[in-house]
C-alpha cells in the first residue's frame, strides 16, 4: 500500500527506485552506494533503476523535479548557490537547514549529511609546493604572479569560485586563468602546462598525481556537505536506508573510494559494495 503511490506503474513486482547521479566518479559511487543499500534492504525486493552520469547539477535537478528520477546525491553549498541562487552560509549546519527549507518549498526532501564535505580544493604539484614553500592560500597569493592557473567553467562562474577567491586572497596570476574542462585541468597540472588548479577536496587523484591541497586559511570556501535529495513519494522506502548511511562516509573514506575508481580503475559497484560491507547491518 505504501509503495503503490510511489511506483505507479503497476506491472512491477516490488517498489521501484530510479537513482540519478551527476557525471563524475564520486556521484556515481554515491549512486551505486544507494542502489546497493536499497537492494540489500529487508522487505519486498526493490527494483532499482540506475540513471547515472547525468550531465551536471541542472540536469539532475530538472530530472528530479519532473519525477524522471526519485533521488540523486547533491551538496548543500552547490544546491544553495546553483539551484536556489543564494549565498551559502559558512556554517555547515546552517547551510544544511537552509538547503532543507529551500527544497521543501519545491516539495522535495533531503537526507541528513552523509559525513563528508566536497568543497573546492586549490591544488598544486607537490614539487611546486616544496620549492615555493606553499602550505596555505595566503602563501599562494605571495607567489601567484609567477604561476599559471587553469580552472573549470563552474569555478570561474560561481560567486564562491575564482572571483571571490581572488578578492579574498588578492590573488593575481601571471595571466588570466586558462578556462577548461575540469578533468583536463588535472591532466594539465600533471603535464606541467599549468601550476594551480581548483579541484575537489575528495578527489582520488590528489594522492595519485602527487598534488597538494593548499589550506583555506581565511575560510573563504563555504560548506559543501554531501546529501541525497529525493522525491516525497520515495520517502517511505528511502528514509530507513538513508538513516543507515547518514554521517557514515568520512572525507577519507570518500577520497579512498574515488581513488579506487579513478586511479586503480575498479568498478564503482565493487567499490560501493565493499564499503557497504563495512557498515553494521540495520
Amino acid at each position: 500500500m505504501l509503495f503503490a503511490a510511489v511506483f505507479a506503474a503497476g506491472c512491477h513486482r516490488g517498489p521501484r527506485l530510479v537513482i540519478g547521479s551527476k557525471d563524475f566518479t564520486e556521484q556515481i559511487v554515491l549512486g551505486e552506494l544507494l542502489a546497493d543499500a536499497a537492494q540489500q534492504h529487508p522487505g519486498p525486493p526493490v527494483e532499482v533503476v540506475r540513471r547515472f552520469d547525468l550531465g551536471g547539477t541542472l540536469i539532475c535537478h530538472r530530472a528530479l523535479e519532473a519525477g524522471r528520477i526519485s533521488v540523486y546525491p547533491e551538496y548543500t553549498g552547490t544546491a544553495l548557490a546553483d539551484i536556489f541562487h543564494q549565498p551559502p552560509p559558512a556554517d555547515a549546519a546552517a547551510a544544511w537547514r537552509q538547503t532543507r527549507a529551500d527544497y521543501a518549498r519545491l516539495g522535495l526532501r533531503i537526507s541528513p549529511p552523509l559525513g563528508f564535505d566536497d568543497s573546492f580544493a586549490i591544488l598544486v604539484r607537490q614539487t611546486t609546493a616544496t620549492r615555493l614553500h606553499l602550505e596555505t592560500l595566503s602563501d599562494l597569493a605571495r607567489v601567484a604572479p609567477r604561476l599559471r592557473a587553469g580552472f573549470g567553467y563552474e569555478f570561474m562562474e560561481r560567486p564562491d569560485g575564482y572571483r571571490g577567491l581572488a578578492r579574498a586572497y588578492h590573488l593575481h596570476f601571471a595571466a588570466p586563468p586558462h578556462v577548461m574542462d575540469l578533468a583536463l585541468t588535472y591532466m594539465a597540472l600533471a603535464a606541467r602546462r599549468v601550476d594551480v588548479i581548483a579541484g575537489d577536496s575528495t578527489a582520488g587523484r590528489i594522492a595519485a598525481l602527487h598534488l597538494r591541497q593548499l589550506r583555506d586559511d581565511r575560510h573563504f570556501f563555504p560548506a559543501y556537505q554531501a546529501i541525497y535529495v529525493y522525491r516525497p513519494e520515495a520517502a517511505p522506502l528511502l528514509r530507513p536506508i538513508l538513516a543507515r548511511l547518514a554521517g557514515r562516509i568520512s572525507t577519507a573514506a570518500m577520497r579512498a573510494m574515488n581513488a579506487e575508481v579513478d586511479v586503480d580503475h575498479q568498478d564503482p559497484k565493487a567499490v560501493a559494495l565493499r564499503w557497504l560491507a563495512t557498515l553494521p547491518a540495520q
Partner: protein, 228 residues
C-alpha cells in the same frame, strides 16, 4: 525569446569575440586539413596501400572522443598544450576523413573512358590530374569539404574544454551555471554559422565549377585537349 535577445544584445561584444575565435578555429583547421587531405586523397587513388592506410587511419581518428583526444594532446610539446593549438590539431584530425573521402571518391568515379581518352590524347599524368580528374571530381571534393567544415563548426564548440575559446565557451559556462540563455547564446550562433559556412562553400563551388568545369564530359575533353 525577447529576454534572450536582450541578453544577446547585452553580451554582444563578448558574443562577437567568441564568434570570431570560433571562425578562426574552423578556418585554420579546415584549411590545414584540406592541405593535408587533398594530396593524401589523390595518393589514395594511385596506391592501394595509401588507400587502405590513409583512409583506415582517418577512420580510426574519427572515433576518438574529443575529450580523450585533448587528454592525449595536452602533454605534447608544440602541437599540444592548453589553448587553441590543441583544439586546432583535434579539429584537423577530425576533418581529414570527409575531405580525403571526397577527393578519393571524386577521382575514382571519373569515367574510365574519359581517362583513357585523355591518355590517348597524349596528356601527361600531371595534366590528366589537373585538367581532367580534379575538375570532374570538383563536386565530390567540395562535398567532402562542406561536410568537414560544417562538422568543424559543431566540433569547435568542444575547444572551450581546453581553453581555446569560441562559442563553446558560452555553452560550457551555461551548463556550469544552469543558464539556458548562455547555452543558447553559444548554440544558436554556432548553428547559424554552420549554415553560413555551408552556403559560402556552396557558392565557391559553383563559382569554380563555372570556371573550370564545362557542362558534359565529351566537350570537356575537347576543350581541355585544345587548351593543352
Amino acid at each position: 525569446m525577447r529576454a534572450w535577445l536582450q541578453f544577446l544584445i547585452f553580451h554582444r561584444r563578448e558574443l562577437l569575440q567568441l564568434l570570431l575565435e570560433h571562425i578562426g578555429l574552423v578556418a585554420a583547421s579546415t584549411l590545414i586539413a584540406a592541405a593535408i587531405a587533398l594530396p593524401l586523397g589523390i595518393w589514395a587513388t594511385r596506391s592501394r596501400a595509401a588507400r587502405r592506410w590513409g583512409i583506415g587511419t582517418a577512420n580510426i581518428v574519427q572515433t576518438i572522443p574529443s575529450l580523450a583526444m585533448f587528454g592525449f594532446l595536452l602533454p605534447l610539446p608544440l602541437l599540444g598544450g592548453v589553448g587553441a593549438s590543441s583544439a586546432i590539431v583535434a579539429l584537423v584530425l577530425y576533418s581529414l576523413l570527409p575531405i580525403m573521402r571526397g577527393v578519393y571518391s571524386g577521382i575514382a568515379q571519373v569515367d574510365p573512358a574519359v581517362k583513357e581518352a585523355a591518355v590517348a590524347l597524349g596528356l601527361t599524368a600531371r595534366q590528366r590530374l589537373w585538367q581532367v580528374e580534379l575538375p570532374l571530381a570538383l563536386p565530390s571534393i567540395f562535398g567532402g569539404l562542406r561536410v568537414a567544415a560544417v562538422i568543424a563548426v559543431g566540433t569547435a564548440t568542444i575547444g572551450a574544454a581546453i581553453g581555446a575559446g569560441g562559442l563553446g565557451e558560452f555553452i560550457f559556462r551555461g551548463l556550469a551555471t544552469a543558464d539556458n540563455n548562455l547555452i543558447l547564446a553559444g548554440a544558436v550562433p554556432a548553428a547559424l554559422l554552420a549554415l553560413a559556412v555551408d552556403g559560402l562553400l556552396g557558392g565557391l563551388e559553383s563559382m569554380l565549377a563555372r570556371r573550370y568545369r564545362p557542362a558534359a564530359p565529351p566537350p570537356a575533353l575537347a576543350e581541355t585537349a585544345s587548351g593543352a
